[in-house]
């Protein structure tokens, strides 16, 4: 499974847009890029998944360039409740099989 690299931590303020970039140089053709969010004392929670170009849902947007060796999670207008750890993962999807390889994640701190 492709290893991912992302910043250890980021700081932001309420109302700002936050972009977290992830590198996955060894991504395979069948791999999807998936982002999870985790709050303390909770399990990871799915945010968004994409294969290429741009994906948007009610929570975030995911930008993936043509070479798919990196991706950027964009959180619009963050609030204090967005303070969490964000994990970028690649996984083979389509079959429901989700053997996820977690890295250290990015610890996002949103301040007033």
């Amino acid at each position: 499974l492709a290893k991912t690299t992302q910043p250890i931590s980021m700081d932001s303020y309420e109302g700002q847009e936050v972009n977290i970039t992830c590198s996955h140089n060894n991504i395979a053709t069948n791999d999807y890029i998936t982002w999870y969010q985790q709050f303390p004392s909770q399990g990871p929670r799915f945010i968004i998944q994409g294969y290429k170009t741009k994906v948007t849902n009610e929570v975030a947007s995911l930008f993936i360039p043509a070479d798919r060796k990196s991706s950027t999670l964009s959180l619009p207008r963050v609030s204090l409740s967005d303070t969490a750890v964000y994990y970028c993962l690649v996984a083979t999807s389509g079959t429901g099989f989700q053997k996820l390889v977690f890295g250290t994640g990015t610890r996002l701190l949103v301040s007033p």
Binding site: G43, Q49, F97, K99, L100, T104
Partner: protein, 111 residues
């Protein structure tokens, strides 16, 4: 719709004792996974069930760990005998065609 539920939420046991963790996946999900995070480390995959069959148990640390999913519904993860290094948070997740949904985790402390 109920999410993935895990029981107990916390467990404190002595070294050498046995502990059994339980996971109830989302109804209808064929795929069930166990992950764990030991202190200071990243979340690691333990094993994957498809219905009642073990598809991938490459992450199981040793033979003190036994996972079962009889009938393809809930799953148990037994640690026997527990060692100090088994302390951590054990997560269960389930999926069907799409993303994996995680439970809240069981925090296991071995003293």
């Amino acid at each position: 719709e109920a999410g993935v539920t895990q029981f107990p939420s916390h467990s404190v046991i002595e070294k050498g004792q046995t502990v059994t963790l339980r996971c109830d996946p989302i109804s209808g999900h064929d795929n069930l996974y166990w992950y764990r995070r030991v202190m200071g480390k990243e979340i690691k995959f333990l094993l994957h069930f498809v219905k009642e069959s073990k598809q991938d148990e490459s992450g199981m640390p040793n033979n003190r760990f036994l996972a079962e999913r009889t009938g393809g519904t809930y799953s148990t993860l037994k640690v026997q005998p527990a060692e100090l290094e088994d302390s951590g948070v054990y997560f269960c997740a389930s999926s069907q065609e799409g993303e994996a949904f995680f439970g809240q985790g069981t925090r296991l402390t071995v003293v």
